[in-house]
Amino acid sequence: MQLKKSYINISKVTALAIIASNSLYAENYVSVEFLQYNENDNRVAVSAPSFSTSYDIGTDYNIKADFVHDAVSGATPSWQPDSNSGASSRDNSGDYQYKNQEFTEARNAGSVMLTTRFENRDELYTGFDYSRESDFDSKAISAEYMHYTDKSHNQSVNIGVSYSFNELLAYQYDSGSGASQKEESNSLNIQAGISQVLNDHSALKVEGFTIIDDGYLTNPHANVVRNNNTNNQKLVTENRPDKRTAYGVNLKYITLLNDDMSYKVNYRFYADDWDINSHTIDNDIYYKMNKQLTFGVGLRYYIQSEANFYNENKDFFTNEEYASSDERLSDFDALTYKTSIDFKQNDKISYNLGGEFYSQSTGLDASMVTLGLKYKF
């Protein structure tokens, strides 16, 4: 009986650790997920199968690994020569159109994370991520430490840092030769926060973060028009500053509305020295309908201001150092409608099906469907 009571307490302490730190949910499983993502106007389509596994090594270690393959096809909008106006590629005459530019791409990405639990149940997460495409490679290392500040493990603080090394092939549109050259960028991400159990049915997490990007940050596939309607007009690759410093704060709150329904809200504020500010509020409700079925709905709202070197007008740019017409740097807002259903066949096997619809004020609409299977062992 005493043994059973101890076991229950250990389980609940583990549960607390999960809530207070938002750490890795400690369990052994393998899961496969499939994502199908489609944009309107025959833009980007992505098919992405993924594999993920988590394994506890004793009580002090957990290792988690995942892999995803993205098969990307479609088109992305950029300034292009208007074929109807007589302009040819890389021509300095004729007219230009903001239209879709077709492409295909494949991306393989994976990550490994080791969780180490210490005697006081503090946790250290160390990770390695990689991502590889035909013209882009990224490798990243990360570490994060989570420390409980009280005996009941109701409060924890965490601090983490990651550093990524990126290499890309940059095509200069105006070079005329189609040649590319290797460019580099790197990113430093520092994050610190506090998690607090508020009562027996709600918890809060507050985190601050800063991100410093350095190197070649230009999108080599995006063009701008300079000196339009002059003798010196030209279509060239956009140019962005080679440094970007961002900071922000993230607040998460989760509570149980009744025995079977939870509500989670996440607010993020972001700002950077390109003059982009954004606000994100993300809401999710999960309803456990019975022992097997859990239903979820969610709504996310996002709004951002435009970068100080962005303009969509082809008559705008002349000889400015920095210039971009990439609509992702424009001011817009976006809504995401989310729904999901989970079916738990038994204690080991569960299935999930999710659908999302994303709509930007730029005119971009996208749908996302996920289908997954998880096996616990």
Binding site: I8, A15, L16, I18, I19, N22, E33, A48, S50, E105, R107, S111, S131, F136, S138, K139, A140, S142, A143, E144, S152, H153, N154, G160, S187, N189, I190, Q191, Q196, V197, L198, D200, A203, L204, V206, E207, G208, F209, Y247, G248, V249, L256, K264, R268, F269, Y270, A271, I276, S278, T294, Y302, A307, R328, T336, S340, N352, Y358, L364, A366, G372
Partner: protein, 73 residues
């Protein structure tokens, strides 16, 4: 930046002063439910979502330090 941090600190202190109730380990059954995880029911799906937003929006961060770059942005 300082204003935002002060606001976050104030909220934390306010919570600490008035809304926090000590919860004993045996009172945490509710908090252990799968529907009570900050990362959602399926972290893998959350990772998909984050990647989509990363590729279509100009801001990022706040969801952990792990993760690498991508040519999509």
């Amino acid at each position: 930046m300082i204003k935002v941090l002060l606001l976050a600190l104030s909220v934390s202190l306010f919570m600490g002063c008035s809304l926090v109730k000590e919860v004993k380990p045996w009172e945490k059954e509710t908090l252990a439910k799968p529907i009570m995880q900050f990362g959602g029911l399926h972290p893998e799906v959350t990772k998909f979502e984050s990647h989509v937003y990363f590729s279509k929006e100009a801001s990022r961060g706040g969801s952990g330090v792990a993760g690498g770059g991508c040519g999509c942005n």
